[in-house]
């Protein structure tokens, strides 16, 4: 019995392991929030899952295949990844940026079919960034760029989507809107979405599971489990009743 995304005895880190062995599972339709203090290894975990860095020990599997053994060219049609770094400056048009999501399916000359272009426009509309499509990347705001990158990840049409702090640069309205969109896509398109976030109040309204980095341990929790105990309070100094009064 294994999930779509299966993490077994994984040790993550660059030189030294950041955590104890990690064992987690995610399935199609799951929307999972990775939670933890700064520097606990959330981004490292996502980087490892995306195949950007190698694990120190252990394995992660997608559909039963070990991530680091999947061919480079194939991996991008199974996992899409949005990093939290936004330091790139380019005169890529937003349309071209989003269109990069189709590159796993195009030939060496990056020739896009009509269907590819249709998909790109559909997601541009879904993420409400059609108005940006002719703007160069350097001229848009951080939030707009972030939304374009997330849009690109969905254009990639992979079963697993990893997002590192997708809400970081967004305003309050956009944070809600984005997470709502993500949870819709997870449920309707049966995607497995894993994202890290510090916007716990908003994130917890939409997620099904939580991967919590608590000191050196990483555990998987249902939202209900966290609400009843004081696990989150000890790990993150986060109290649930602070937020229950908010309604949107």
């Amino acid at each position: 019995m294994s999930g779509l995304l299966q993490i077994e005895n994984l040790l993550i880190g660059y030189d030294k392991a950041l955590t104890n062995h990690i064992n987690l599972t995610a399935n199609a339709g799951d929307i999972i929030c990775v939670v933890g203090r700064n520097g606990t290894g959330k981004s490292t975990l996502l980087n490892t899952l995306a195949g950007v860095i190698k694990p120190i020990e252990g394995n992660c599997y997608i559909k039963g295949k070990e991530i680091n053994k999947i061919k480079h060219t194939e991996r991008s049609s199974v996992i899409s990844y949005v990093t939290s770094r936004l330091d790139y400056l380019s005169n890529f048009k937003i349309f071209d940026l989003v269109a990069i999501g189709r590159s796993p399916y195009t030939n060496i000359f990056d020739k896009r079919s009509e269907k590819d272009i249709e998909i790109i426009h559909q997601y541009l509309k879904d993420f409400e960034i059609s108005y940006l499509k002719d703007k160069p990347l350097y001229s848009v705001s951080d939030g707009e760029r972030q939304r374009a990158m997330i849009c690109r990840a969905f254009v990639q049409e992979t079963p697993v989507i990893l997002l590192d702090e997708p809400t970081a640069f967004l305003d309050y309205y956009s944070k809600n809107k984005l997470l709502q969109k993500l949870s819709e896509l997870a449920i309707i398109d049966k995607k497995c979405i894993v994202f890290s976030s510090h916007d716990l109040e908003i994130a917890f309204k939409f997620v099904s599971k939580i991967w919590l980095f608590d000191k050196n341990n990483v555990g998987q929790f249902e939202l209900e489990d966290l609400k009843s105990g004081n696990i989150l309070e000890t790990a993150m100094s986060f109290k649930f009743n602070q937020t229950s009064s908010h309604e949107f």
Binding site: A50, K71, F92, D96, I100, S103, Y138
Partner: protein, 358 residues
Amino acid sequence: MGLTHVITSTIIKKLISMSRVFNTILFVSISIILGILILIDLKTGQIDIPFKEINNFFSFSKTQDDSFYILVKEFRFPRVLVAVLTGVALSVSGLLMQTIFRNPLAGPYVLGISSGASLGVALFVLGGSMFVGVQGALGSNISLLISAGAGAAFVMFIILAVSVRVRDNISILIIGILIAGVVSSIVSILQYYANDISVKSFVVWTMGNLDAVSYNDVMLILPIVVFGLLGVFFMSKNLNLSLLGESFAKSMGVNTKVQRILVFSFVSLLTGTVTAFCGPIGFIGIAAPHIARWIFNTANHFVLIPASSLIGAIFIVSSDILTHSITNQGILPVNAITAIMGAPFIIWIVMQNKRTVI
């Protein structure tokens, strides 16, 4: 729903075809400009050749004055060919380096790759005269090519190794300048011990010289540059992905290690080859890709590679025209002209600071 869908998709197709048409117009105009400049360059020199004679050369009809024909065929035409190839090789190298380092200030000259090639040539020419007693002349073309290529590869390797640790644009630039400094000191030491003849031929070489080339050189440079250009063009898709950073490229399925090795080889090959024959020619590699981005308003390597090549060729052919037309007494070093034309670009790029994009 059906109708709006049809309308939007037609509009999209229209827009795409329009931008294609626009790019085609740009490419055609730039090629025409290059063609005109090539004709002017063929005409310009210590002896002015009428356009009619150049026309005769291209239609293979020898006319009344054979000396013009021979002058064009034996001297001017190989010179222009090598100029064009040099422009192409240096600007493509510059584009590759700017993309892989994600640094708008990168280029074969600025980061010391050309200096590396100089070091190779210096060791070969000057060192050869010291130890082996080879006299004077620059030696055989192929050994010159190999020594320049090896020198370029040596510096490129250092810069690549450093860039893995140092990500800051300006720091890499400073390291390039330091390498160039060390290389020029080594060259000074070599010059001190080498004999007069080899020093003179080396100094003439460093000024950049397109006049000394023959068809034999063209036969060496042409296949290498064509091979490099094609190879780089086939990398376009992955280069586009690399514009957004190495981890992004990795997550999109680019084998970044292989890509680095390929870029390393192509830059060393292209820069090393043209530097071996024409001397270290500066600033084209950094300026041409920026002009291409500016004119075509794109980051797409499928457009930028041919565009930078054409613009680099225009850049050096016009420099060559200037070197031959400013003074009647002999020729000026190409390097001086490209520096005067290209250095303002670097100043402009630095002044733009954060706004500069690759």
